[in-house]
Amino acid sequence: MRPTDRPTLLNGCARAATAAEARFRVPYANSHPRSSCVVALDPRAEAALRPLAGRQWRGARFRAWDAVEHGLRGLEGLPRPLEDELQGVDLVVLVAGGGEGAAGAQALASLCAARRLQPVGIVVSTHPSAAAALRDCASVLVSSADEEYLADMLTAMRA
């Protein structure tokens, strides 16, 4: 019988899974800060985003889709180059409150696909076309009438 056939100390699950051993989990930051881009696709979504943009985040940037210019702008209104905004991003969140942003969702989803990013879609209203605008663009689609869900999700994902 080899020594490893009889687990000892932490090779045995019984001891390893105890609360006593859980205290010895190495205390360090096990991830680098992520780079997130949160995009409001329509006016309802932008209204939901504005209160969040003023809070302290770990680098999340908040943008809006400009349907006229077919590109991104900051919430203050200034245009933002699309290529630059997605540079180095590892989380893209598309937020829809209505169906007007479907074209923007498609455009951003294509760019994300080229960068092997999978956008998360968040529907912040019960407007039926909001989910439809995102359905084929997001790898995960979440519909929540709770106005706090977006903030809770960004916090949970360390945005």
């Binding site: 699950c13 390893a16 790898s139 519909s143 709770d146 999700m153």
Partner: protein, 428 residues
Amino acid sequence: MLRKEVNDLLTQTGPGTPTGELFRQYWIPALLASELPEDECPPVRVKLLSERLVAFRDTAGRYGLIDEFCAHRGVSLWFGRNEEGGLRCPYHGWKYDVTGRCLEVPSEPAESGFCDRIQLRSYPLVKRGDVLWTHLGDPARRPPLPEWEFALVPPEQTYTSKRWQESNWLQALEGGIDSSHVSWLHSGGLNADPLFKGARGNEYNLKDRRPVFEVVESDGGLFVGARRDAEEGRYYWRITQWVMPSFTMIPPRGDHPVHGHFWIPIDDENTWAWSYDYHPARPLTAEERQAMIEGHGIHNQYVPGTFRPLQNKDNDYLMDRAAQKRGETFSGVRGIAMQDASLQESMGPIVDRTKENLVSTDNGIIMARQRLRKAVVALRDRQETPPGVDPAHQRVRSASIVLLREDAFVEKCREHLRVRPGERHSSV
């Protein structure tokens, strides 16, 4: 990631805790009916929500769930004699009925009325289906009896088991609503397990390993939809139900029975994982029932005479690295139930969620935590009845179905996600 104070809020369920109070709003499974099989059978120790109790079935067939300890000097009534309408402490003969009322204190004259002053805490214990249910909350706020379909169909159509999981309830529940792990951890089971194999839907699962998830709030909790490519212009949807606080129903496969779980806190570091299987329209076959008894599907094998899984942390879950290398199992642990439990127990008794790095496919878990937190706070601060108490929230089903690509699953599946008594579940 969850802040420590929110993690503590949701994982602590003892008396006086906010999430403990949440659980006390519901009827919860307490024992299998088979644990009290006959009148005057031996009493059974029960620990729920960090309360130590004892259950018994008296001479007239009435069920009782009372404080475990005799009011005299604290002896465990597990040693009690179940006789003549009550449970008698063997130390000095004090006797209690199923409501915890003291019937006799032999050393005191009956005329003294002393035993009228003695009352053990007691809770109702009601049989529905294979399960004895209890409500540990305020009797004045007792809800109607539970209406989960698996507990209401004829006995030949249903099977229920329970196992001891050595972890907090929440990390167990989160495994149940996290659809994204199935393609990894359980990848060996689909075509091998007698309770899953042969369904047309399995082919879609195996061909499309990158499902798209859709999470939508429901009246009682959440729908979690997983969408995979089907034939041209269509998607195969598998829709899981979560009803607060800890009920799930997994989407069915073919005409196999449909199944799901409850996770009920024993204390903050231990959980009862309840597993049910039922068919709404026909009896379980002898083969299906035998497969469940033998631990296939979501059930498991036991250390004889206990509810402890045969595969447990003391034997490293009977880890088989050779089977893992051969591709028979992904983690080296056999069986759906213990594949989940082994990993959830490895997180520690109460996982530290401040160290998490969640990704987009964790949105089901993120939303469930948010809904739980809000329900707990609303109950604590405004005495609001939480979702899932209303029996209408319990009359639900899961579904697997093929839809057109443009269809929104919640709208198209509303009728499929409700109980239709006697009718088959919607399944592919």
